[in-house]
């Protein structure tokens, strides 16, 4: 067997039982201090899967580029393992140890197969294998990190929904007090929530109160305009209240046109206007 990949595959396949046993033993030592741990059958299955997928990928003869197509199944599998570890509360290091702790069993086995032969190939094989496993271990840490960030982002969104309640001021009039900066994620959540409430309560008028919004930039203004436009398409109408002088100046300065959107300085004025608008249709009926 002339190449490192060929020798690696040979070891992985012929010594799989021993490799698995040693690897799982090493992993158990790492997990020793954890309260929640992974069941034996599950760990066994994960290790076996890793060896199988990695052997297949090594057969492509490229140990260097783990971003290439042959390594996709391995990475996909590791991503799954990593996300699961993250969910169970494993630290990034503990997650990386899944791959890292495979090094010693593998090197020990490589050493054994080249016992008595001194041709420098052992060093080359160990080196290549080490670099490969390092890359895969680092990948698991990245996924772990991304998974954590995803959870935080989702929790943030859920908190947003709770912190921007839509209030029913009157029969047919909703109010949405917006607080803080209106970044993209927040505004989208808010927009959806308001529109759903308009349908649920059959309210033709929604008052967007921006008293609690310190500054308005182009993006925020655009989001507000989009909310107003979507509301109109549904058959309802938005009134914007609580525009402070500074915000009014900023809006003009940004060149944003509010068109014929009704704006009022105070929520009370907006409410009065809303009642009047409803009053027209009530008197008619």
């Amino acid at each position: 067997m002339a190449t490192t990949p060929e020798r690696l595959i040979q070891v992985l396949q012929s010594s799989q039982v021993q490799l698995l046993a040693d690897w799982i033993k090493a992993l158990r030592a790492v997990h020793k201090t954890r309260s929640a741990t992974i069941s034996d059958p599950e760990l066994q299955a994960q290790c076996q899967e890793f060896i199988a997928l990695t052997s297949a990928a090594i057969a492509s003869n490229d140990l260097e580029d783990t971003d290439a197509e042959p390594w996709r199944p391995v990475k996909d599998f590791l991503a799954g393992v990593s996300r699961s570890r993250s969910r169970q509360g494993f630290s990034p290091s503990e997650t990386a140890m899944f791959v890292m702790s495979f090094k010693e069993p593998l090197f020990a086995m490589l050493r054994r197969t080249r016992e008595g032969i001194d041709d420098g190939k052992l060093l080359a094989d160990v080196w290549e294998a080490s670099r490969l496993l390092d890359k895969l271990a680092l990948y698991t840490t990245e996924i772990h990190q991304a998974a954590r960030e995803e959870v935080i982002r989702r929790q943030g969104e859920e908190m947003l929904e709770l912190s921007t309640p839509v209030i029913q001021l009157w029969d047919g009039i909703l109010a949405l007090p917006l607080i803080g900066t209106l970044d993209s994620a927040r505004t989208q959540v808010v927009m959806e929530s308001l529109l759903q409430q308009i349908v649920a309560t059959r309210s033709p008028i929604a008052i967007l109160d921006i008293t609690g919004v310190p500054t308005v930039d182009t993006l925020t203004a655009q989001h507000l305009l989009k909310t107003v436009a979507a509301t109109r398409l549904m058959g309802a109408e938005c009134i914007i209240s609580g525009i402070r002088p500074q915000i009014a100046q900023t809006i003009v300065h940004l060149g944003v046109s509010l068109g014929d959107i009704v704006t009022k300085a105070s929520l009370a004025d907006a409410f009065r206007i809303a009642l009047a608008k409803l009053g027209q249709s009530i008197a008619k009926g």
């Binding site: 990475k75 996909d76 991503a79 996300r83 996924i143 995803e150």
Partner: protein, 140 residues
Amino acid sequence: MTPAIADPARPVLRVDIVENEDVVVVRQRAREQAHRAGFSLLETTKLVTAASELARNTLEHGGGGYAEIEICTDGIRRGVRMRFVDEGPGIPDVELAMRDGYTTGKGLGLGLGGSRRLVSELEVQTTPGHGTRITAIRWK
């Protein structure tokens, strides 16, 4: 475009776009995949609408072709990837085709600019005289 791998457990839904009614079929398939990927109602609506726009382009400007819709992942997120392929005249100026007036909705009628806003990633591969291949991915 983010390297995305297909989900081996899910099918690739292919729709030949030859006549008007096929655009409706494309919408239905996109809706199915969105459901499989766990998209919210709004995410689904945006995806299906983009699918409709792009399918129409394939039919009207590309002279017909096909669409392939599948679930994909980049290791962290799940998404739906749609490919629209035709062997039509191609798009001579992609930048121009992407541009449209936001407030008026006018453009070259190609719907590309609008579609781009509805998805996470949009890539256009086109050769004038040889056809167009549009890939759109919406991540959850």
